[in-house]
Symmetry: C2
Amino acid sequence: MAKQPELDDFRVPYFESKKNGKFSLDDFDPAAKPFSTGSKDADRARLSEIGAKLDSLQECLHAQQKRRVLLVLQGMDTSGKDGTIRAVFHEVDPLGLRIVPFKAPTPTELAHDFLWRVHSQAPAAGELTIFNRSHYEDLLVPTVLGALDEDAFDVRCRHIRHFEELLADSCTTIIKCMLHISKDEQRTRLQARIDDPTKHWKFDVSDLDARKQWDQYQVAYRDALAATSTEYAPWYVIPADSKTHRNLMVAELLLRTFEALKLEYPPAKESLKGIVVE
Amino acid sequence: MAKQPELDDFRVPYFESKKNGKFSLDDFDPAAKPFSTGSKDADRARLSEIGAKLDSLQECLHAQQKRRVLLVLQGMDTSGKDGTIRAVFHEVDPLGLRIVPFKAPTPTELAHDFLWRVHSQAPAAGELTIFNRSHYEDLLVPTVLGALDEDAFDVRCRHIRHFEELLADSCTTIIKCMLHISKDEQRTRLQARIDDPTKHWKFDVSDLDARKQWDQYQVAYRDALAATSTEYAPWYVIPADSKTHRNLMVAELLLRTFEALKLEYPPAKESLKGIVVE
């Protein structure tokens, strides 16, 4: 396998307020494939290998019933959130995995603070939970629609940091991935959805409105990521024009995260020693 | 009616850490009746008057579907949490009122951070919610049992402040009452529960263990109150040896809180003007 770059090179630096944020998404090339071996077949073999490892690491997490892992996936339409989940986690035992999709908030959800519905879905002890979109939508969408001014944006970021710190202090490891595609790549993928009737269910005309606001979304993403990429809940930018690379990089990130937990099965029970089931 | 003292005199001063807290519960006499008129009958008449006002103010809150009110009730066993709810809120329309009792956490609740179950019960727009015990139990009980050291106590207090600030920033008015009784008064009330079989359901033998740790609980209460009596979620100490006084003071506090909201019915709909139903 080729020498790999550091994941830290793709970690978003933390700036408390967008007033002083210097980080730019343009620093990351969506078409880059830093974690690729150079061969698609080798990449897929490596992905399969990681999938199997994640499966057994997740069983250990589940057996321990202590730590929790939360993966947050964000990205523009067609950036590959669904595809990443399918590709990276299809070998993980569904018993220990929970996927939580966040859609536009319901009236009941809107009658509470914006983190209410999110907190209720936080992973339990032993769980690996994936947020398919997340509380970050409540930062990005209203910002682009002009419903959240700069101060309100900062307040929401502060509440998000506090919330994620609470989870982190409660045995939760949080990793957040922004699947980073180019505007050109999005055109190709949206057109493919339009041209293929079996993909129409994935397409909504409002996706074209969001595409028209591409630049505003990129700015909102930059500000949101920088204001919440903390020590306890870092953001990573995943170059995602190549699906194979995107999957592999998210998988590597997850694998290293799990390995850093140094999970072990709970100690053997002395009381079970020598027992023979009749 | 006699001149009333300031409610602020019973408000707990805020100290971020118990390391620097100077406030003492001993400064408050549990037998005091500062909000009493001097006559039990007049007190009850006033309570009934406030109850009717709270009913109509709560309807306005409900009609607006914007603001939320959260009342947190804490106190030692027999301090009168149930009795206060019954006496102060029995005239309020149950449609707009939600009482949430918190018992010892279940295994599912323990598999999450300590605020998970609490956040899920936060009031929705238009609701008046009463926490009968609360997240403060998760501060008090483990502290007295020695399961929460000083640093962990401070961390929990910080998370509580952040959580309550999130609610406050989301249209929620929070008031917290510690029903303050004397150790002698508790003896009388516990004995009454033991002596009356119809009150046995309210009694648990473990209540006597908690009574043995009275002093430790008073210290834990002092530290917990001082570390969380913020601008946006203040604590009040309610002298509660007299049930009539306790009810009246909580009612006055609620009334002033509601009045400060300056609630009004939503504006009349022009489109309804002159419509005659056939």
